[in-house]
Structures are given as C-alpha cells and as structure tokens.
Subunit: 224 residues, 2 copies
DNA sequence: TCTTGTCTACTTGTATACAAGTGTATCTGA
DNA sequence: TCAGATACACTTGTATACAAGTAGACAAGA
C-alpha cells in the first residue's frame, strides 16, 4: 500500500479515507484483499477509530464490504456495478452539459479554458498522472458551470467502480484524443449547441471500451 | 425526537442512523437544531461511537453539518440543494423509466402490479403514511425493473433534501392523483412506450410545486 | 482415518477515557 | 460601570479497552 503525506490540518479520518480510496482505485489494494482496521491504523500511524470511520464511508459507496466479526474486504469488481456507474455518468453528464450550454457564465468558461491550457501543456510534456487530475477537474467544471456541484460529488462516489476498472483495462485512451474532446466540448458550450455537446459526451464516454473478457481472463481473482 | 423500536439484529449504528434520518426528514428535528452526540447516545441508550458513526454517514449526504470542536447541526434548508435533488431525480427517473420500458421482465411488472394494488387498498382505507412508503417502494421497483438498484440508493440519499421540504410545503398532492400516475406509468412500461413514460415522470414530478416564498415566510429560521 | 471439541488468534462492534478547541458566564481590577 | 482575564462546561476528534463472534489449528477419541 502506498502511504501519501498527511496534509497539514487534514483530519486523521480524511487522511485515512483519502489513502484507502486512492490505493483501491489504483489497484495497489487489489480487489478481494482483506483490510484489517488494526493493520491500516498501524501503517498510517493512527488509532482504529478514524480508520474505521473511513472504512465505513467507503462501504457506503460499496467499494469496501464489511462482514461483522469477520473482516473488511476490498470489493471484487462487479460488472453490474461498473455498468451502473457508467450509466449514471452517461445520463448525468449529458443532462448537465446541456444545462451548461444554457447557463454557463464567463467565469466558468474562463476556468475551463485555463484548465484546457494546462491539459495542453502537460500533454506535450507527457505527464499522464497530472493529466488525469486535470481531466477529472475539467468534468467537475462543467458541473460547476451548470451549478450542479453536489451532483458531481455524488457522481464521483459511484464512479470509483468505473475508474478502478479503467486502470485494469488494456485499452488506454490516447491522451491526445481526450484533450481534443474537451476542447470540442468547451466550444459547444460556448456556442450553446446542446445537441453537439451531448453528442460529444457520448463520443467521449464510448472511447472507454473496457475489454471485460480479456480482464476476466487476465485477473479472474479480481472479479465477482 | 421520536425514538422507534430497535429492530432485532439491527446494529446500534443502523438504529441510530435510521432514527436520526427519519427525525430529520419528518422535521421532528428541525433545521438548524444542534445535535449532541452524547445526548443522542443517551436518548437511544447507546454509547457515542455508533451515534457518531451514524452522524458521519448523514454528513456525507449534507443533511447534517459538523463543525469540529463546536457541534453538529441539522442542515438548514438550502434551496440550491433542494433544486439539485429535484434535478437528479428528474434526470435519473426519466432515463431509468425509458430503460424499464425496454427491459422490464414479467417478475418486475408483477411486483409493481402488486404494489399498486396495495396503493389502491390504502388509498381507499385512507392511510397516507403507508401510502408514502408504497410510493417510495414503487419508484424503487422501476429502478429494479431497469436493473439499476444501486443508482436508486444514490438517488435516495440526495432526495432527503427534497423530501424534507415536501413535508414543510402546504401543497399536499392528492394521493388519488399519485396512485393514478403510478398506474399510468406501469401501463406505459408494459406497452414499452418510452415517450409516454417519460412524459408521465415529468407530470408526476411537476405535481410537487413547492411554494418556497410561503415556506420562507412561515419558517424563516429553517432556511439558509 | 475421520470426527469432534477446544483453544487461540484474529476480526469487527461497542463503550469509555482522554485531548483539544469553543463559547459563555463570572470574577477581578481599574 | 465596564474591560478583560479566567475558569468552566460544553463540543467533537482520537485513542484505547473490552465484548462478541468467526475460523482455523490441533489434539483427543472412536
């Protein structure tokens, strides 16, 4: 497990939550792995209480499963859950980008523009990790532009399942294409072209063709 | 605060969670009220730990807000949050009912049919509380029919904000109309008429006209 | 060999003790 | 009378102790 630095003023619980979530999504903590509250507490230099609270939080998103008096486990990859996460993303993203086309103000557009410049920068520089963060942030900015930030938070918790499988998948989407998609989205929002914007979201999401049979064959122990 | 009976085998945390949630949505715990972990623990006959964990869960849905070293409070009604909950319900319900039109099997349809009979029964009997439960369950069954049950859970957590304002609103939707809406929805799903089904969801949701100015005037202390 | 009971080492669930910060009431001093 | 210091009662955050249940190792006995 990878243990990041604890941010100043970050509570023990938030620190434990962040660490566990990142390790699960990055597959450093593999699906099916048993998690011991005590062990995690020791590794992170905390007591059981904040670790336990973080685990409960993650259980709510079904990314950890706890069996009383037995143990907590990183959830196996559940194809149905992955599909459902993708469905939610598809439905919400489309509705929200349409809304953004109608109500986005210049401030939001500027923020997206700035983000895109950074995407371009790190694309050329070749920093996929930083690009991943900017990608996520760009989509958040669309929600912000539509004044639906809380909805984005909800979307995020469910999307953990999807993100984790993306890591596992062979098909790496070319970063170049992603950035181009984003640029086109911003153009559509600027011109208020809802139809185009929705179509772009559709195209964007379809780039992630998750080759389930291959993944199942490669890592059968990860699947439910 | 109303304290229900603890179900057999219900964990202390689940019991605390259920009790707090119901009291908040029913407005027995009024918006802005300070909640003391110790006090709740005493009232429920539990220790602080499970109560605290329940409060953390509810904080995740932004229905409780905690200020470190100061206190936890039932969130004030935030119009933006209510609108957003309504938005999510609108978008997801429409997408899901369209899906249900395509994929619902007879088992799901039967379950909905049975539910509707009960709705009819309690409508004639005049039991609005039971009817409320059946209403919620009916909408869950639509999600089940579309094989999107996890999405429903997510929707529920956000809908707390909406439900709580519904309680406060003057405009009581006639139960008769609700049941009729449901019957029409089931018909549309059975015949696979996506357009009609979506239109019904729209009509259904529009029945809840929440008179915000009136509520604000009547209970200014409840609002943000 | 197989069954069965027991012991042990683990797990999570809950209760309690302590740490640290906030706000208020009160007392002190001018 | 008023300003400011201070003690106190409260809060949540974290650590620790104990309760209760699970599973596996292992030995005793048929």
């Amino acid at each position: 497990m990878f243990v990041p630095d604890r941010q100043p003023k970050e509570s023990a619980r938030d620190f434990a939550f962040r660490t566990l979530k990142d390790n699960i999504v990055s597959l450093d903590l593999k699906p099916g792995t048993q998690i011991s509250e005590n062990e995690i507490a020791q590794v992170l230099g905390l007591s059981r209480t904040p670790v336990r609270e973080a685990i409960i939080d993650l259980s709510k998103a079904s990314i950890i499963e706890t069996v009383p008096q037995k143990g907590s486990y990183v959830s196996l990859i559940d194809q149905k859950m992955v599909d459902e996460a993708r469905f939610v993303r598809d439905v919400l993203d489309k509705a929200v980008i349409r809304l953004a086309c109608r109500v986005a103000d210049t401030e939001s557009l500027d923020a997206m523009e700035e983000n895109l410049h950074l995407q371009q920068f790190y694309l050329e520089k070749g920093d996929p990790k930083r690009l991943f963060t900017l990608d996520n942030e760009f989509h958040r900015l669309i929600y912000v532009a539509a004044d639906k930030e809380t909805t984005f938070e909800m979307r995020s918790s469910m999307l953990l399942h999807f993100d984790r499988v993306r890591r596992l998948s062979l098909s790496t989407v070319k970063d170049l294409k992603i950035v181009t998609d984003h640029q086109e989205m911003l153009s559509a929002i600027k011109s208020g072209d809802e139809e185009a914007a929705e179509a772009l979201v559709d195209k964007h999401l379809k780039r992630y063709k998750l080759d389930e049979p291959w993944m199942r064959e490669e890592h059968p122990e990860f699947f439910k």
